[in-house]
């Protein structure tokens, strides 16, 4: 049995939008074990982004508990949350979110910088990871000089560089054409096979089926939580 690294207990999240209180999450119970590849699906407004933000320690739950690697996130202060993100989490965004004025390798280095790794060591590590995602010859290019697929690879490299416990991906193929999307998903599959824990939010059924488990949300609650049959996964790929 693999360790349970993420555990949500009756997790609720409300926020205010203008004058209305919105109940984005209304009581989520979820356990994710090390090495799992979980896809979170649901229509827009179902709370999947909010869930990902909470899982990513960017937002604190209003009620309930969230344990990440046994730490109770709901009681941590802002600095500790930063440290959690820094040491345990890797983010992959839909719009890549690379910093435009920095080169590819500098973008990949950012998490190491906040870990206080020496410049020499971070450069070495970032270069190595960049080569692994196929950007070895694009290290000193600016993000704007890369194609969407390459930018997302840089994004993945950045999420991997601090060797995180969990990779959180928010619609990683949302801005890509289907070919680039497949390439990116293959990288995720490969990472999964290497034992990485991946949580991915998507609204695309095909993309979701790269995962081994699909959690469907509806109105802030988990509707279904099912394992994907190996047969179906092979079928789509």
């Amino acid at each position: 049995m693999k360790d349970c690294i993420i555990k949500l207990e009756r997790l609720k999240k409300n926020y205010r939008m203008g004058l209305v209180d919105i109940q984005a999450l209304r009581g989520i119970d979820l356990e994710i074990n090390e090495g799992e590849f979980v896809s979170i699906m649901g229509p827009s407004g179902c709370g999947k982004s909010t869930l990902l933000n909470v899982l990513g320690c960017l937002d604190k739950p209003t009620e309930g508990k969230y344990y990440l690697n046994k730490y109770d996130i709901s009681v941590l202060d802002d600095d500790t949350l930063s440290d959690m993100r820094c040491n345990y989490l890797g983010f992959v965004f839909q719009s890549y979110n690379l910093i435009p004025q920095l080169s590819v390798v500098e973008n990949i280095e950012i998490p190491l910088y906040y870990q206080g790794v020496s410049p020499h060591e971070s450069r070495k590590k970032a270069t190595e990871i960049a080569s692994r995602v196929g950007l070895g010859d694009r290290l000193y290019h600016k993000p704007t000089e890369l194609s969407g697929g390459q930018q997302q690879r840089a994004g993945i490299a950045r999420a991997l560089v601090n060797d995180p416990l969990v990779i959180l991906a928010d619609e990683p193929t949302g801005n890509l054409d289907s070919k680039s999307g497949r390439e990116i998903m293959n990288i995720f599959s490969e990472l999964h096979s290497l034992g990485k824990t991946i949580i991915m939010v998507t609204h695309d059924e095909h993309i979701a089926r790269y995962g081994e488990r699909i959690v469907r949300l509806q109105d802030g609650l988990i509707e279904t939580d099912e394992s994907v049959q190996l047969r179906i996964r092979e079928e789509i790929s």
Partner: protein, 468 residues
Amino acid sequence: MLNFLSIYRWARVIKMGFKSLWLHRLRSLLTMLGIVFGVASVIAMLAVGEGASQVAQEQIRRLGSKNIIVQSIKPPMEQKVSAERSRAIEYGITREDAARIRSSIPDVEVVVPNRIIREVIWNTQWRIDGQIIGTVSWYPEIKQLKIIEGRYFSELEVGTVKNVCVLALNTIEKLFPNGSPVGKSVRIGSDYYQVIGIIEDEGSMGNLQQTQNLMMSTQSQNMPPDMSLGKNGGGQPNRQGRGNGSGRKGQMGTSPQYKIYIPITAAQKRFGETLVRRSAGTLETEKVEFHEIIVMVGSEDRVEEVARIIDEILQRYHKQRDYELVVPLELLRQAERTKQIFNLVLGTIASISLLVGGIGIMNIMLATVTERTREIGIRRALGARKRDIILQFLIETVILSGVGGLLGIGLGLFIPYLITYFASMPTIIRMWSPIIAFGISAGIGIIFGIYPALRAANMDPVEALRHE
């Protein structure tokens, strides 16, 4: 915390700051300009202030801080009455006054009687509108003037009424443009005087007043009025037409005084005590024994007291106020006060421009923070703490104001040089002024950087990431 103190972090955050400023070179430069000009104006204004007050103080010091100068002044009322009553106007300090001062005040060391006459001085074809000072042999000691060449006349020469003279440095420049005059002669009227020495220029009260006016016109009201006019009065206007042009232009008292020193006995003998002066078609004669006496007091503490006593003595024997007391020490103190006010005003003005520069920086930084909201969100998601974000933006402001401060120091050191060169105004840059200016600009960088940096750090990471 250990992480935060890491040298890599600091090195990188500073590098990053420079990099992101360099990315918007023009914007950074324009933002910096406020600080550059602020710092430069602080330094330049302080330099001008220091320069002006230095000159004033030097001139006052030349008058001697232990000295009290009593000058004869023509009483204003006399002029109208004189036409019907008497030929010669008698006024001013007399021998009796000098004797009284000498005998009644114990602390008084020396009394130097002077006669000041304006005449044309000749050296063959060169001529100059000079000021002839008939005085005693210890005059240079009292005034603390250095003999540059030759010697001053001796007591014996004063006693024997010798026709010798000592020229001031600026007189030499006009009168003997080629070579040392020592041993040669100058002609005044029909008499020849042998030049025996050269003496440094005296602190002229005319120049002094000019400098003071320059420093602050309101302040000069507090100064004893007519410091230079009183003694120049005799014989001045009739020279105007014949002057060689270099002598005086426009205002009285602003022209340099070309001085020549002769024994007082010679002055009394050759020029007499009566002066004739023509002005506006009328003839006026006036009789003055001493145009000026200098009283030297034993110690500086007693100067003001002695000045008061002298004033009382003179008041008792003079019906009119035909004399004026000039106390250089008092002037010196006044100049110091003036300087303080001057520096305060200039400093305030310059500081306001620094403040404006700081506000400019804050404005740009706020815009930058908004512009880079998404970057802030990304950095926060990737593990940046609030203080990392604060540091990142604060460093940028500090770099802006620091580099701006350095450029400002460069400019600020250069401007006084230009002022001195083109406006021939003396400027003095004190060591502390660039340091203070830089300190203020760095401080402004921090103060005006704090708010934008805090705003950046306090953004909600989720919101910031969503920002387009």
